[in-house]
């Protein structure tokens, strides 16, 4: 993975220098975008600022591009040369790649763990009695053929909702309706963090027969929900934010498992992975457009939609950077973000030291990241490697839908998944660029370098989390643990292969198709063929 990043970064740097418009260059541009990360909170004006800022960054880049891979920044001094570095960078990138894989394994496993334990301890999520609006056919007929057509029709309806929502999101994004998108995202995460969490809490207490009065429950819900909203949309310790994102993904997966009829759930899993494939890889695929647009605008995809092993928010840096970015940070997140970027640019123009600030937003973020990194060195390493999966955009759509309905949520999820495409390269390249810039511009700011590294952290769309968890949770709902384990291993191997392909092809890839295909194959094969075999064996205590 790291290799991807490094390679991309080097290529990206070259591309930028050349002014080429290759895919690689696009990806690389994202890093620039990352600087303006404030996108999430930012207004249209802010975004425009970000784009403007991006230009100064570009100017800086040529020097940075010469340095080559972003991955190296840590390892090598500023002096690293271009061409020979490429290979070394690749190798280093690969080294970090393994770490990145593990950084994704852990949260994905945690999310699955939450879903599986919930499915096995709370029977509420195991039975479907209420249905989503989007699945009008309830598969009540005993005939398999009827069930099959029901599932097909349901999944088609769901998928069309997802497609429509995705396109709507893209249109909104293209038109720079950031307020609408943010409102949508905030509304949907609000729904998840309050309403669905309340339902979850209720069923949890019921399952364990724990009495609780409403004031206490309200107190817990208020604290949990508000902290979650702050962590996801504003700022929080990295671990807390990651924890909330994992929990939100697990909740969403539970909602799908609970409200989708059985066959429909499987059909949706298959359909969503196909849609992911199309949306990410086809030339006019919506997710691809989304990613490319974001790259062009040097913007980060909305943090609420992506799990990141490192810090996402630009404004996080405000805490650390009292000098330049503090005021901005104090202001509302969106405004602060934009302000930080602008100030950074001004600084860069004004003085060389500030130039790092040009990356200031980055620096600030990096500073914040540094503190975070102190918390978790691992995250830093991963950041350095920088393998982001782009899910942000999809998440946005998903969030909006979520606010409306569970069905909408599901649709959003699908979109999110598609969006989740792996854009590791871009982020990596961006990181590398940043790191280079930091080196060149501000050697004194060690923190800035660290920040750059952190930014490189892996990102995986929440949609991927959700559908992986839906698959494993659905498998475990049949009460057979061997099926669950087989699905788990198959999904992790699929994720590994996806990351490997990412390293080879160095372009945005959908994270769902391989994993879900493996998972589906192993789920059905295990429950149909392996399970009876193993039951026979373990009943007779035969070990193979």
């Amino acid at each position: 993975m790291d290799a991807h990043v490094n390679a991309t970064s080097s290529s990206g740097g070259a591309g930028i220098a050349d002014g080429l418009s290759g895919a690689a260059s696009r990806l690389e541009r994202r890093p620039k975008q990352q600087q303006p990360r404030s996108n999430y909170g930012s207004n249209n004006v802010d975004q425009a600022d970000g784009a403007i800022l991006a230009v100064p960054n570009v100017v800086i880049r040529p020097s940075g591009s010469g340095s080559g891979g972003g991955g190296r920044p840590r390892l090598s001094g500023g002096g690293a040369g271009g061409p020979p570095d490429a290979q070394a960078e690749e190798e280093q990138g690969l080294k970090y790649g393994a770490q990145h894989v593990i950084k994704l394994f852990v949260p994905v496993s945690l999310c699955m763990l939450v879903v599986v334990t919930t499915i096995n301890s709370i029977s509420f999520y195991n039975s479907t009695d209420v249905y989503l609006l989007y699945t009008p056919f309830h598969e009540l007929s005993p005939e398999p053929s009827v069930k099959f057509w029901n599932a097909l029709a349901n999944s088609l309806i769901l998928m069309s909702v997802v497609v429509v929502m995705t396109i709507l999101l893209i249109v909104l994004y293209k038109k720079r309706c950031y307020r609408v998108i943010h409102g949508w995202l905030i509304l949907s995460s609000f729904m998840l963090l309050f309403i669905f969490t309340y339902l979850y809490l209720e069923e949890l207490l019921r399952a364990y027969n724990i009495p609780m009065d409403y004031p206490t429950a309200l107190f817990i819900m208020w604290n949990f929900g508000v902290a979650g909203m702050m962590a996801i949309h504003w700022q929080a310790p990295l671990r807390l934010q990651q924890g909330y994102l994992i929990f939100v993904a697990a909740l969403m997966a539970l909602v799908f498992i609970k409200y989708l009829p059985e066959w429909t759930a499987w059909a949706v899993l298959a359909a969503i992975s196909i849609w992911d494939l199309i949306a990410v890889l086809s030339p006019r695929g919506p997710l691809r457009i989304l990613v490319e647009t974001a790259q062009e605008r040097n913007e980060q995809i909305f943090p609420a939609l992506i799990y990141s092993s490192t810090v996402i928010y630009t404004y996080m840096g405000t805490h650390y950077t009292p000098q330049q970015s503090q005021p901005t940070g104090i202001s509302s997140p969106s405004s602060s973000n934009s302000t930080t970027t602008t100030r950074a640019t001004q600084n860069s123009l004004a003085s060389p030291e500030v130039a790092p600030a040009g990356n200031n937003s980055r620096a600030s973020s990096s500073r914040s990241g540094n503190t975070r990194s102190t918390l978790t060195q691992d995250t830093q390493a991963s950041a350095a490697e920088g393998m982001p999966l782009v899910t942000f955009k999809t998440h946005l759509r998903g969030n909006a839908e979520a606010a409306g309905f569970t069905e909408e949520w599901s649709a959003n999820l699908n979109e999110r998944i598609a969006r989740r495409q792996i854009e590791v390269q871009a982020s990596n390249s961006g990181n590398s660029r940043r790191s280079n810039e930091y080196r060149t511009v501000t050697t004194p700011h060690e923190g800035a370098q660290q920040e750059g590294q952190e930014e490189r952290g892996i990102k995986l769309g929440l949609g991927d989390f959700i559908f992986y968890s839906v698959l494993v949770g659905k498998a475990s709902s049949y009460g057979d643990w061997t099926t669950t384990i087989a699905c788990f291993v198959a999904i992790l191997i699929g994720l590994c292969l996806t990351l490997l392909l990412l390293a080879i092809w160095r372009k945005a890839l959908p994270a769902l198709p391989i994993s879900i295909t493996f998972g589906l194959i192993f789920c059905f094969a295990t429950s149909a063929v392996v399970k009876p075999f193993m039951e026979n064996l373990s009943a007779k205590q035969v070990f193979i």
Binding site: K95, D480, V489, F533, S538, K540, Q541, F543
Partner: protein, 239 residues
């Protein structure tokens, strides 16, 4: 009694493997990935043997048939993963932060063997463990009371055996020692066939022989990895 038994059996079967995982695998991302890849290959071998068992309908009740072919498939996949790991060694060398993983070839063998063993032990035991927590079923209907414990102990021996087998097997493949390869296949076959006697509740026989084989294989693996009585003594005395 059900919950204590659940934890007891879990720790019997997976305590030592878990310790091995924590102390030797968990810190190295490359090893974790290889572990999971090995588990995946074991799953593939199990899938193939299950398909065969499922397809040959008349022999479904004859477990010997399924066991023999399952062992053969497992050893085939052990060879396949050996080939894959050796062919990707250069790449691993570039990827691994810890160069020991390629310098010392036994590490790859050990990691993949533990992956094989872990998933094999889990598949054998995990549904039994789930049953243990349920409404008490121990020794019901005239069954034996030590059914679960014996299963857990047996699973532990299988996990350890797979680890040892892989170390021996990889080393033998590297050095073209066909005797050791046949020993691995033969002892695997023997252990698996011996467990068929568990159905007659001949636990003392099967466990005694299997643990003798486990210890013997462990010694062989230790020697295959370059250990000797002297180095063992030095390890014990912390020199």
């Amino acid at each position: 009694m059900t919950l204590p038994e659940f934890f007891g059996c879990t720790f019997i079967a997976f305590g030592p493997p878990f310790a091995l995982f924590v102390f030797t695998i968990a810190n190295d991302p490359v090893r974790i990935i290889i572990l999971i890849a090995a588990a995946f290959f074991w799953l593939l071998s199990l899938l193939l043997s299950s398909l065969l068992w499922f397809a040959v309908v008349p022999l479904r009740d004859v477990l010997v048939f399924g066991v023999v072919f399952s062992v053969l498939f497992q050893e085939c996949f052990r060879y396949i993963i050996y080939r894959i790991l050796r062919s990707t060694e250069q790449g691993l060398h570039a990827v691994a932060e810890d160069s020991r993983i390629t310098d010392n070839k036994h590490i790859l063998a050990y990691v993949s063997g533990l992956g094989f063993g872990l998933v094999s032990g889990m598949f054998a035991l995990v549904n039994l463990l789930a049953d243990m927590t349920g409404p008490g079923t121990m020794g019901y209907n005239g069954g034996t009371e030590i059914f679960f414990v014996v299963s857990a102990v047996q699973a532990l021996s299988i996990v350890l055996l797979h680890t040892f087998w892989s170390v021996i097997f990889f080393n033998a493949c590297d050095n073209n020692k066909y005797v050791q390869i046949s020993y691995v296949v033969g002892s695997h076959m023997l252990v698996s066939l011996l467990t068929l006697l568990n159905a007659q509740e001949l636990y003392k026989t099967t466990l005694l022989i299997n643990y003798t084989i486990t210890i013997g294989t462990g010694v062989l693996a230790f020697r295959a990895a370059g250990g000797s009585a002297r180095s063992f003594k030095r390890f014990i005395t912390c020199q």
